[in-house]
Symmetry: C2
Subunit: 112 residues, 2 copies
């Protein structure tokens, strides 16, 4: 799939910055669950888009964008997502950080 930046609206909106270090296990269902969560998130009320990257050093960053704080809290409580969160804690991540932030300004480029 062609990578794309998330086409977010004018601020303000909410960004959830999820950064993680993966465990070294392979074939542990992670990729399938990540795809399923991307698909499910996109159906949620208030979802605006997301961007995701993981480097060869194992550090991954996913930023999801939401209309407001209520949408973020609701998504955190979706049943299938709770299962993914539990497996993440138990199996997939050496370490992670979740940061919830309000985007106040944004600009795109390049304008050549």
């Amino acid at each position: 799939m062609q990578a794309e930046l998330a086409p977010t609206p004018e601020p303000p909106y909410v960004a959830v910055i999820f950064t993680s270090l993966r465990t070294h296990s392979a074939n542990d269902g992670y990729a399938a669950m990540a795809d399923a969560m991307d698909t499910l998130a996109a159906t949620q009320e208030g979802y605006l888009g997301h961007e995701s990257a993981r480097g060869t050093d194992g550090l991954g960053i996913t930023v999801s964008y939401w209309r407001d704080e209520e949408s973020v809290v609701a998504w955190k409580r979706v049943a299938e997502h709770l299962v993914a969160q539990r497996l993440g804690r138990e199996r997939w991540y050496e370490a992670y950080q979740v940061r919830v932030a309000r985007v106040d300004r944004a600009y795109a480029g390049p304008h050549r």
Copy 2:
């Protein structure tokens, strides 16, 4: 180098979310400049840390963390950084988005 998550303090602080699609040119000085900017950013007043990842699809995310908005604005104006920004616009990026956000809450895991 071992990947590490940025050890940020308690919120509030500022996150600059830079997402980009690279052009397909190789050996264009990008990697060296990226390293130099990482090193230089770390010397700036108000710098708290950063995290960076680029996937095989060409989408990259760098999130840098700053004490306050003033630190962000000052870093944007540093002379060497202005050169990097110009080369980014002219040469390195197909597309990018910069989002400046105030981190209101954060938590780390896993706690097994």
